[in-house]
């Protein structure tokens, strides 16, 4: 296997993937959208049957940095194509926002095995922190983002005792209750705007006003490009950190407590410590990205983080593959973009997602892209020679 062919394969598949996303975004008629979906599904199945996907998987794994860079360029290129289109940029940015939130949830659910059905509540906690801080104080917005994350962490600490003392279904019930409770609390709180919600200032970083568009050579560039680019940076940072968590003793500890808490304790592990760590890191990411989301929308209301949104986050992880970072990115794309493009399913989206989750659990229990075995340092010679 020569390395040129690996790079070529990666390049070609990322190019095809980008073209597909662009075509999907451009497709207007329901027929066009449907045929694109069928085309993607059929080619994936054929390629899977022929073993091409497997081969590509090993190619991507063996030249990881190149692959990640190429995908990043593909994402930027997509943004350039749609630079003038508010709606599409907003949709793409929403995908990235959900990717960050789900990567946070993945640390809790995918690694440490803590079911959290309150994802949207932590997301909302960050959003409300941004609302209060941007409206009431002049704090720099980067600081607001970080505080948004910290607020979600602090809110999470309220839950930590019940979560540590329960397992499985019981822990799920605790988080569901919390999710509903949090929303009700916000709805009746006049300080936070009640059911009407609260306005949030648009993002400004070092004088770079995110809510201003540009004119380049007579071409109008949507102001959403600012949000998209920043969300892309946040996604890349989150991606890197989550990867490093996975590829360290911390990820190993979390896997170990997910699989067998008692055995982990018998080998000297402080199980509670790693659950708290996973819960904290995950909530931090959800809070940060919630604050960012609120600043992008310019508005936050209890309707932005319903229990349904928490369910969507969990189903993204189940669909993509528990613990699988790329699987989650793929599943987020599908779950966010599909109902937007395919208006006919809008009303039935929960039905369709639940069907999707059931089908995946039945026929591909490890998700669309299952998690690969841990490599601490990819590229390092594995095993003994």
């Amino acid at each position: 296997m020569n390395s040129i062919s690996i790079y070529r394969n990666i390049f070609v598949s990322v190019l095809l993937g980008t073209l597909f996303v662009v075509a999907m975004m451009m497709a207007e008629s329901q027929v066009a959208v449907l045929s694109l979906i069928v085309l993607a599904a059929v080619s994936c199945i054929v390629l899977q049957k022929k073993g091409v996907i497997r081969k590509l998987g090993s190619d991507f794994a063996s030249a990881e940095k190149f692959a990640n860079g190429t995908i990043m360029i593909g994402a930027l290129a997509t943004a350039v194509v749609f630079a003038g289109d508010h709606f599409i940029l907003l949709m793409l940015t929403t995908v990235l926002i959900y990717v960050v939130a789900c990567l946070g949830l993945n640390i809790q659910f995918g690694y440490a095995g803590m079911v959290n059905f309150a994802g949207a509540a932590f997301f909302g906690a960050g959003g409300y922190a941004a609302a209060v801080l941007t409206m009431q104080t002049g704090l720099p917005h980067l600081v607001v983002l970080v505080i948004g994350g910290l607020v979600a962490v602090i809110v999470g600490f309220l839950l930590i005792l019940p979560v540590l003392r329960t397992r499985g279904h019981y822990a799920a019930v605790v988080t569901i209750a919390f999710s509903l409770l949090f929303r009700t609390l916000v709805e009746v709180s006049p300080v936070l705007g009640g059911a009407q919600g609260s306005p949030v200032t648009g993002m400004v970083i070092f004088g770079w006003n995110f809510n201003e568009g540009y004119q380049i050579a007579g071409f109008d560039v949507s102001f959403y490009i600012n949000y998209f680019l920043f969300a892309l940076i946040l996604t890349a940072v989150t991606f890197t950190i989550v990867r490093r968590v996975e590829r360290s003793w911390i990820g190993l500890n979390m896997d170990s407590i997910r699989i067998d808490e008692t055995a982990s304790a018998c080998f000297g592990m402080n199980v509670a410590r790693w659950k708290v760590t996973a819960f904290t890191i995950g909530n931090f990411f959800m809070g940060i990205i919630g604050a960012f989301y609120a600043m992008m929308l310019g508005f936050i209301a209890p309707n932005n983080f319903t229990f349904g949104d928490s369910l969507i986050m969990v189903s993204i992880i189940l669909l993509g593959g528990i613990g699988s970072i790329w699987g989650i990115i793929l599943a987020t794309g599908i779950v966010i973009i599909l109902p937007e493009k395919l208006q006919i399913i809008q009303e039935y989206r929960f039905l369709i997602f639940s069907l999707g989750v059931i089908l995946v659990l039945l026929y591909r229990p490890n998700g669309l892209l299952s998690r690969a075995a841990r490599t601490y340092f990819p590229g390092l010679l594995r095993g003994a020679r």
């Binding site: 490093r244 360290s248 003793w249 190993l252 304790a265 340092f377 003994a384």
Partner: protein, 275 residues
Amino acid sequence: MDILTRSQSAKIRSSGTPQIVLKARNVVRRFGGVVALNNLDLDVVEGQILGLIGPNGSGKTTFFNVLTGIYAADEGAISFLEKEITNLPAPQVFRSGIARTFQRARVCLSLSVFDNIVLGDHPRLQQGLVFNLFRRSSFRREYEECVERVRELLEMFAPHLVAKMFEPVETFPMIDRRRIEVCRALFSSPRLLLLDEPSAGMTHEETRLLVDEIVALRTKRHKLSIIIVEHEMDLISRITDRCVVLNFGSKICEGTYDEIASDRNVQEAYLGVEA
């Protein structure tokens, strides 16, 4: 009762008194109305293999669970290397030098051999967030050291697994999973190893191989003491220096395998009392 074997008494005569590493006194554990452990006294001598036997439900695994901190003892005291370890939480018992295996090879099936074994020395790994996430070159050094240590351990106890160190454990047969589990328990160089039914789920041939390996273990780790819970009497007779027989949570007999095998109480416990 003489708790030393012939070969060991000879060894000890030259080196002074035998060291008792584990001392359990009057240990009681109840589950509701059931007395799972009833005033159990038990000593483990350094370097010896102690067989813990008895019919199903006689309290053998309960003793392991009380000893390792999974269950609390209702009464009694346990000391290890002259330190009180009664009812310490499991991680602290492990840190004092006691490692165990489980009845149903509780290895992490989806994780690699390396991952499983490295977990066996969790307290020695640096666990800081900054170290793990941001000081990647230092982390890499520690990681490479661990790979080397795991390789050495495997070369000693399961050489055929060295080349498959990064493959998930679920791809291996039962006997290899047991070997991996034993390696995980040995990785921290414990002073006392608890083996809970190592032959469960294995064929006769596999059990024989495993016995040979446990016997070989003794020559490689002189100071290691072992308590082994087992139903396979052939295995017990071949490797133990001394046996303790439990029935309904009480010790009914103690001695070498030959002594306990000819004991009337033991025969009754296993075969029932003649009417």
